[in-house]
Structure formats: C-alpha cells, structure tokens
Amino acid sequence: MAIETQPESAQAPGGGDPGAAAKERNFWLRPGIHTAVIGAVIGYALGHWLGNFMTPSFVATGGGAPDSNDEAIVLGFAFLVLGWLIGLGVFDDLVRQMLGRPIRVTDHKANVGVAKYFRYTLDHKVVGIQYLVGMLIYFFTGGLLAIAIRTELLSPSYHVMSPTTYLEVVGEHGTMMMMMMTSVILGPFGNYLVPLMIGSKRVAFPRLEALSFWLTPCAFVILLSSFLLGGFPTGWTGYADLSIQAGEGMDAYAVAFGLMGVSIILAGFNIVVTIICYRAPGMRWSRLPMFVWAMLTTGFLLVLAAPVLVGGMYMIITDRTAQTAFFASQLGGSSYLYEDLFWFFGHPEVYILALPGFGIVSELIPVFTRKPLFGYKIAAAGMFGVAILSFFVWQHHLFDSGMDPDMRPLFMLTTELISIPTGFIYLVAMGTFWKAKLRLTVPMLFAIALFINFLFGGISGVLLSDVPADTTAHGSFFVMAHFHYTIMGGLIFAFFGGLYYWLPKVLGVTMNETLGKIHFWTMFIAFNSTFMPLFAVGMLGQPRRVWEYQANLQTLNDWVSISAFCLGGSMCIFIFNFVMSTVIWRKKAPRNPWNARGLEWQVSSPPPAENFEHIPVVLAGPYEYGDPDALPVADLHPPAGVISGALATATASTGTEA
C-alpha cells in the first residue's frame, strides 16, 4: 500500500547528500505566515511596478479614472499570490526534490504547538481547523457588511452611505459570502472528517489540500482591497458590460473570485480522489456515511463547475487589460456570453452550497432520533440527482434577459425536476423521524431548523422557476429572500449544527449547551424575522441592490433591519460561546459524547496524529441504531494479515477485471 511510503532515499544526481537530514533553521526563519506576508508585500510591489513599467500609458477600456492602470493592479495581485506562496514555503519541497535534497514535510519539529496552524502544514486535521477559523473570519466580515446594508435600508432614501459606498458594500457582502459558502463545509468538515469517516490515515493530495486553504486568505485580502481601489459596482454577479466599465476595484473582484475558484477546484479534486481511493477495507459504497456522499457529490460539482468560473473571471481580466472583447458589446463581444458562463458555474454552485448541508443533517438525524437512516439509497440517489440536474438549469437566471425563448419551457421543467431529488432528502428525514426517540440537543435543533428553513427556500424556488411568476419575482428582494433561505437557512444552520456536533471531536472540548440553545433560538427567530418579510418586500416591487425604495415599504424594511441586527447579536452569542468554550473553559469532551456509531467517534477526542493506530476494518453501516444484531461499526485492531489479505483480494479482482 503506497499510502505511507516515503522514498527511502531520494535520487540525487547533483545536489547534496541524499541521506542527510534537512538543516534545522531558527523558528523565525522557517517559512510561515510572517514570511508569507513579506513575500506578498514584495510580490505586489514588484508586480505593480512591472505593470506600470510595461504599459505606462494604458487607459482602461471602460474609461475609469484617466490614470488607472488595470494591468499594474492585476500583475500586482498575481505577484502578490506568488510571493505569498513562496514565502509560505509551498514550493520548497518541489525545489528540494529537483535539487535532489531531502524534503522537509516529514520534519515534525516544525509542526508542533500552535505554530503549525500558521504554516503550510500537510496534516488534514490542521488544514481543517485552519479552514474553520478562516471561514469564520470570512463569514463574520460578510456579516458585518450585511449589517451595514441593513443600516442603509432603514430609510427609503440614502442617509448613511453614498450610493457608491452602498454598492461597494453590497458587492463585497455578496462576493465574500459566496466565496466563503463554497468551502465553508467542505473546507473545515470535509477535510477534517472525511479521512476519519472512511478509515484513512491521510487524504489523497495533502499538498493540494493545504494549497487550497492558503489561497483563501489571499482571496480575502484581495477582495477587501477593492475598497481601497474604489470598489466594484456590479454586485457578486459581475455582469458585463458594467464590469468592463467599472474602475480598478473590479480587478480585485475578478482576481479574488478566480483565485477562490482555483482553491475550490483543488479542494474538490482532493476530496473526490480521497473518497474513491482511500476507503478502509469494508467501507463499501453502501456503508459510506451520508456526509461523505455529500462531500463526494460536492467535490464533483466543484471540479466540474469552478473551472468555468475561473475562465469567466480570466476573460473579464483580459477584457479589462489585454483589450480582448469577450464581453464588451461595443467591440463585438456579448454580455450574454458572460451571463451564460457565470450561471453555468453559478447554478451548480448553488447546489455546492446545498448538498453539504443535506449531508450534515443526514448525519445528525440518525444519531439524535436513535434510528437508522430511512432509505439510505434514496438519500444518496437524491444527492446525485441534485448534482447532475444542477448542470441543466442555469438559464432560469436569464428568463427575462432576452435569451432564446424556445428554451424556456425546457429550463422551467429541468428546474422544477430538481425538487424531486431534493424531496428525497425530506422523505429520508421524515421517515427517520417516524416514531423516533428525539434527543433535542443543540446540533439536532439546527438540523430540524434546516428542514423548516429550506422548505420555504425550496417552495419560493418553485415560484422562481416558473416563468410567469418569475417575471415579477426576478431581480427583486423575493429572489434575495429565496437564496438567503436556502443558503443561510440551509447551509449555515447545518454548519452550526455540524460545529456543535463535531467540535468535541475536533478540538476535544465541548461547547456550552445553554449558550448554544440561546444561540439557536435567537438565530432561528431572528433569521426568519429578517428574511420572511423580504418575500413580501420583493413581491411588492422592491428590486435588489437599491438604496432607494418606495416610501410605503419602509415599515417592512425597518422591521427587517432591526431583525437583522438581532441576528447579528445572535452571532455575538455564538462568538462568545466559541471563544470561551475553546479557549477559557475548555470542558474536556469524552470520546463519544453523542453515543454515535460513526467511525470518527471511535477514536479519541481529538483524534491521534495518525487518525488510526491501524487501518480499521469496517464491519457495518454507520446508522444501525436500535438494531440489536448490528455489528460494531469497525474493528479498530484488525488481526494481522486482514488488511494485506483484503488488499491482495482487491488487487487480484482488479487484475482479473482488467
């Protein structure tokens, strides 16, 4: 098994002694976040200078400020990323291998204590925690921007921000949240838990996984730097021709979103290969936890959809710098091309945001109902159905845009068909609840809330998929309420459910339950109080992304704003609980506090560095609650010879098949 082998001695045609250990440097000289920052600063300065040097008289196509030089900005960002990665030591081992020197990753001395979280570390558990903190920072930054938006909308005319600032804030909020949501579950939970759940000691591509995380801080900084460059006026969708016309802030949007696209391709690729190739013996497809199924389908969607996003962003950048004309109508381009590219990514993305949530709740429900998952195959089929159909619905975003009208009935049909596999998830949940022994823990409350919130999100989605109803609802606050119900009401509720559920495993500490319940109830009530009225606001004629609306809608808007502030308060309760529980109180978690069957709960909390002492042999499915005849989920200390026997059989059967 090639899982743990390192070459005993690297081949060394030139370089130093292959057997020699890497030299130990002082800790401040080892690559880490501080060297990465230095690299990024030098990189940006270098790239910016290079851009200005190459094209001193460049004038932006869109006629921004006369002295704006998009090429300098874009090159600056590109070199910033490069410098950041060099400083982080991403390329160190590549260079060492080229020179025939021993690589450094095995050097565990560099990876002790808190310092490892600030380094390019190849342990999937470290990357998972890095992702968790990173995504929480993304989420709360985006949340603050949302509070700013709602403050402006307290009044039907503008009063706090200028229209320019308002649009900047709206665009930043949308883009930041969308970038974050693509990896908010796959990043922390997927990377951390999938190897534990499938009985593996590692992921398939630890370098890609670590790289996928370390691109996200870059994307975060670049996106926020847009504020310094005048922002971007297009919202998170970045429609051409407005994106061509916009000032330098638009470059930050395109680079940041494209960078996040690269990051999620890498993350998805790693997860898919890990799940397919690194399952422990006995972890058949029919025993795979639902969360792993969700990660698999999400990974496929990421790998297949995100390249289109990267391509679209790249084309925006070349339109703005290299004078191409993919999207510039004035020069023979087509804004429809952008809309199609964007939504060809954008609609699968919507399900990239939904499936992990389904996965988490399907994982939680059997544990807290104390019953097997009802219709395991239906649940997996539902996820695959959603994933496949999601590539055939993107034109429902363009029903009013003047696309070929012939296609409308077709896209209406495909969009509505998605509610069938989504309905499977409800069937599975409701079947599992049937005559259960519900334990209303904090994670379970969040799981139940997902089904209630997503119900409204899904039903409003049916209205949007229907062309006549969409004629009124499109581009209004109705759409906005719809996708906040599915994304925040679905994904974020599942995220918090998962966090309360798995944090004892991940950090070995338990979150305070009373505060957790207060967090849940305030969040659930404030969330619904914020977004439910927005359905009405949209139907009453308020378009999205406006700071000026009809005076008669002020009462509703004020209600929504105040509820949004309460929602922000609820998040503060969470932050307090999270920080206090993990840093100050540190109430130690038992190995299996929820009495769950999942493989990840069979190891200590937090899991040992190698996950499993031996590769376990999986004996039964993870959801056999209440079945007195069920075998334990896995044999953690399989007799010698079992693994090699299983591998030999597998190799033999593969050999004959081939």
Binding site: W434, K435, L455, V467, T471, P543
Partner: protein, 326 residues
Amino acid sequence: MAADATTTQNAGHRQGNRDGLWLLILWMVLSVIGCLLVALVLGPHLPPGAQSSSAASQQTDITVLATIATPVVVGVLLYFGWALAFWRQQPGDETDAAPIHGNTRVQVTWIIGTAAIVLSLAVYGTIELISPAGAGAGEGPQPIWKPAGTVTTSVTSWAPNTKNILQVQVIGQQWAWTFRYPQFGGFETTQLVLPVGQPVQFNVTSLDVTHGFWAYTLGVKADANPGVNNVAYTTPEHAGQFQVRCAELCGIWHGSMYDTGDVLSVASFLTWTQTAKTQLADVTKLLPPYALTYDPTTIPAGKINVALGLTSAGGGYYNPADPEQP
C-alpha cells in the same frame, strides 16, 4: 416473555397507525383550510395585480402555485411539529428507537407524488407562459409568442383596434429610461404613456450596460442589453399609473432609475401623442433614425439628453473627454 414482546409490538404498531391516521386527518383539514385561504383570501391581493393581461395571468399563476404549495408546507411543518410533540426521548430512556431501514410503499408513493406535482406544475407553467404572449417576459429579438390576432404591418403608423400592434421602444441608459414611439413620427420622451385595451409591443434596448425594464403592475420585465432588441408584450386593461423600475444592477444610480408610467384611454393617448410630437419636434430632429438597436458612439447623446432635460445620464460609457457629455 415472547407474548409480552408481541403485545408491545402490536400496541406499538397500532400506536403507529393511530399517529399516521391523525396526521393524515389533520393534514387534510389544515390543507383544505390553508388552500382556501390562499386561493380566495390572499390570491386577489397577490402582486402584480390585474392592470394588464400579463399581470393578470401572473397573478393567477402565482395564486395557483401558492395554493399547490400550501399542502406541502402544511404537511412538512405539521409532521415535524408532531414529531417534536410526541416522539421525544422520555427522561431516563437511553435506549434506541425501533429500527426502520425503509419502506418501499412509502418511498414509491412519495416519488410518484412529488413527480406528479412537479410535472403538472411544469405543464401549467408552460401554458401560462405561452398563452398570454410570453407572460410579459422579454423574449429576445425573435419573439415566438405574440398576442392573439396581432401582426406588425407598419412601424410608421398606428390606429386603435387594428391588427397592427402598438410599438414602444424602451431605451435604458445610465441612469434613465426614455421611450420612443416610432408609429408617431419617432419622437423620444421621458414619459411612458399607453392606451388602455390595446396590445403593446415593447422593444427594449440599452445604450451602455445591461438594465432591466420592469413595469411592475403591468407584469412586464425585460432586460435592456446594449446592441440587442428584447421584445415583450402586454395589453393594459385598466387606466391608471404604474411604476417603472430598473431590475438589473446598472451602476451607482441604479436605485434611483425609476419612473411612473400612465395608462390612458385611447382618445387621451392619441391626443397625448399629437402634443408630444409637436413639443418634441426639435429633439426628434437630433435623433438618429428609428432602429431596433443603436450604436451609442454615433448618437449625439449629450445634445439629446440636454434637450430632453435629462441630468442623470452620462455614466462612464460616454468618454469623459467627449464634448457631448452633458
């Protein structure tokens, strides 16, 4: 012992049936009440109202969808409410519940049920899309669903109650709407005025970036794309004012890109066109000949905007160095 277990199981089974029966009865009663409330009480108040043919059909459509959605919402909420009320862990009971891995009959019923609802919704939506001439949505340059009995025989003249459909060109620019009436000498105005009871063809285009023409209570929405003619149809059925807004983000003053339109009687509309034609004669001379799309670089936009009294126009599309800049 065995007998005991059987009795308990039977009791449990009966208990299960009773739960199911109660849920079914409650669901049906609440669904009927809910559907009646949605269809009869809420329905007539649902947007976008009934000011035009497309608005009325959208209102019907939304009502039907909301009515069909009611039993689904009621069912799911009722089920989870029931579970929370009756299927809780009893204090001190640490045992697991009886395992059920699946139930073919329930699963098949569910799949057939959801598929039937979804397919019938798609069929109904298609009918509601095709029969009222594209449901007021922009159909692109080659519309395929038109108001019954109308053809475009002339874009230079129009008379009421003929097959010749009234043409109104909607031009979006940062950040104002203007409207051009080719059948009345091609004047361009900032007022959108329509006759009651006459089918209208909106030809929506843009001079700079993508806008979204949204005549809210007329139930019309069509994106205005530069260099593209996007056609939408409706027939206003009641006189009165309506809101026009921009539904696609188009830059910083997107929020203030709104107007009020007017549906007048046919006679008043004809009078208005004559007045406007005379009043705007000077502007009309500056305009390029009527076309379905315009190349903004050849339009003396600044002069036109000044003549029309537009002060908001003049976004980045027009080169800041352009002397035509207002």
